[in-house]
């Protein structure tokens, strides 16, 4: 509670807030505790990825890169990497093609049931995910989609829908209509207006949506585990096996490999994330 009160401190502060030293100490203490909680597990994992052996109670391991050779030399791992980089882009592209026009319609066109239909895209989040995957699996058994590439792409597609509908809808809504009207006034047709005016302005939002969708597809694990085993394992699905039945450094090395797309995403999208698109995606 003291943090909450302190946070509202602009509107007048509790008595101890006036003691500057105590306030700084409280803030710094809370910050360090949170930093340890969030960064601790990740740093431990990173150290494991560079470890040969790590015996208790040593604070640091004996460093070695031999597990990297082991992981990258493993045929199943290479297969999973290929499967991931094949299925996630396909799912993202498919999602963009079907969702972006729909997002434009949600933002700009009047049609019956618009509000209800937009809300219906939240339904993927209104179910417990794993229950949904189990139900989908029973449908896929009947349609012979179990353990197929198409089945895996469809599972990933579900996870991209929300990002690809809601973020672009918000983006299109945010574009000033006057710009489009002006283009129409000087004689541009609707398609030309869309491609020359609307699309360039909306591009950053669409890029952020696509990157989020890609990560959602790339990181999907639980559904693919059910639908894709044993022949269509993606990298996150491979992780289950590595965590449960291999020595710690193997899982750690693979985790680093699996995080590379996310890191790349952070670097690529930093500019746009700062511009508030991240928050926009969450302010439903």
């Amino acid at each position: 509670m003291s943090v909450a009160v302190g946070a509202a401190g602009r509107a007048g502060a509790p008595w101890f807030w006036a003691i500057a030293g105590l306030r700084r100490a409280l803030e710094l203490g809370a910050f360090l505790a949170l930093a340890a909680f969030i960064l601790g597990p990740l740093l431990t994992l990173l150290v494991w990825a560079a470890a040969g052996t790590w015996l208790f109670p040593n604070l640091l391991p004996e460093f070695s890169l031999r597990w990297w050779y082991y992981v990258l030399g493993n045929e199943n791992v290479v297969k999973a990497i290929r499967m991931s980089f094949l299925s996630a882009p396909v799912a993202t592209l498919l999602s963009a093609v079907i969702c972006i026009p729909a997002a434009y319609a949600f933002a700009r066109l009047e049609f019956p049931g618009r509000r209800l239909l937009l809300l219906s895209f939240l339904s993927a989040n209104a179910f417990p995910k794993i229950g949904l995957y189990v139900s989908i699996a029973t449908l896929f058994y009947r349609l012979n989609l179990m353990d197929t590439f198409a089945g895996v792409v469809m599972i990933q597609l579900i996870n991209t829908l929300l990002f690809m509908i809601w973020i672009p809808t918000g983006t299109f809504r945010g574009i000033n209509r006057n710009l489009e009207d002006a283009a129409r006034d000087v004689g541009a047709g609707p398609l030309r207006t869309f491609f020359n005016i609307t699309l360039p302005i909306a591009l950053p939002g669409l890029i952020v949506a696509s990157l989020f969708a890609f990560l959602a597809a790339f990181d999907e694990a639980q559904g693919t585990l059910i639908v894709g085993t044993p022949n269509h394992m993606t990298m996150p699905v491979m992780m289950y096996t590595l965590v449960l039945s291999y020595p710690q450094p193997v899982g750690a090395v693979f985790s680093v490999l699996l995080s590379l797309p996310s890191l790349l995403f952070l670097l690529l999208a930093q500019r746009y994330l700062r511009a508030g698109y991240l928050a926009a995606g969450y302010s439903l």
Binding site: L45, L109, K129, L132, A221, S255
Partner: protein
């Protein structure tokens, strides 16, 4: 008139493809799952036997109870950490808050599988925490992973950014003038918080709580990797029934029970979102 009709048709046509995906991948499986459990192919007619069997199973009942308790605990901890954090980020400026704003989003970019594994290496007996505590002379402490504690800690780790972002977006929408106004008429910080900030941020708060509940309740990866053997959360139970015991119908019945529990909570969510949407349009 014809123009608006044409616009309506075009709008529906553009919305149709993702809607078909939604129908084929979410609505059809969900509905057919419910029908299967109520109307088993081998038996005749409609029956609730499947549900009676599942709910009559003592192990499954304890799994249901365990799922609800763990989910509520994780939601409570996440919320109690996220709300003050969102408030702090909204109302404070400086180097520490901007550093914090970067720090808290980090888990958003870590796949859940990796987060679970990182948490294991961090918390496991003879892991990082245990090593540091040992060096400080503390040799015994309760086990932190492969039990409910591990699940709650990992769920909190992965959901903090999501909760802070939604709550923060809500707080951002509160006009500074309202808060300054309250101060001008002599309200203290606690009073301002209780009578201005809390009610104005009520909808995002409801959304956050329900989405957290549904997300955590339906999770599989974290309880599967970080949880113990029994009791287990329903996500793990139903996956085991499907892939290990090959009892598809039982798996789906458990899934429907999980749907129903989440639906009760989800109703709250839809009500608050649609209220929001009505304001926005």
């Amino acid at each position: 008139m014809t123009d608006s009709r044409r616009q309506g048709a075009l709008g529906l046509a553009l919305v149709l493809p993702p809607l078909l995906v939604l129908i084929f991948l979410i609505i059809v499986p969900a509905v057919s799952a419910v029908i299967d459990t109520l109307h088993p192919p081998e038996g005749a007619g409609w029956t609730l036997t499947n549900y009676a069997l599942i709910l009559g199973n003592r192990v499954l009942r304890s799994d249901i109870r365990f799922s609800i308790v763990v989910t509520l605990a994780a939601v409570a901890v996440t919320f109690c950490l996220s709300y003050p954090l969102a408030l702090y980020l909204r109302f404070t400026k400086g180097r520490l808050p901007s550093l914090l704003a970067v720090l808290f989003t980090i888990p958003l970019f870590v796949p859940v599988v990796i987060a679970s594994f990182a948490m294991i290496t961090f918390l496991v007996n003879h892991g990082m925490v245990s090593t540091v505590l040992y060096r400080m002379g503390i040799e015994w402490f309760p086990p932190l992973v492969y039990n409910a504690t591990g699940i709650v800690l990992t769920e909190v780790w992965t959901t903090i950014p999501f909760a802070v972002l939604i709550l923060g977006a809500g707080l951002q929408a509160i006009d500074d003038a309202l808060i300054d106004g309250a101060r001008d008429v002599g309200a203290g910080p606690l009073r301002t918080f209780v009578s201005i900030i809390l009610p104005l941020n009520a909808t995002p708060t409801m959304i956050t709580l329900t989405l957290l509940f549904i997300g955590i309740f339906g999770s599989f990866t974290i309880p599967y990797l970080v949880g113990g053997n029994a009791p287990q959360m329903l996500g793990v139970t139903m996956t085991n029934y499907l892939t290990q015991y090959l009892r598809r119908l039982d798996a789906v019945t458990i899934a429907v029970i999980a749907f129903l529990i989440a639906a009760a909570v989800g109703a709250l969510y839809v009500v608050s979102v649609s209220r929001r949407e009505r304001h926005a349009l």
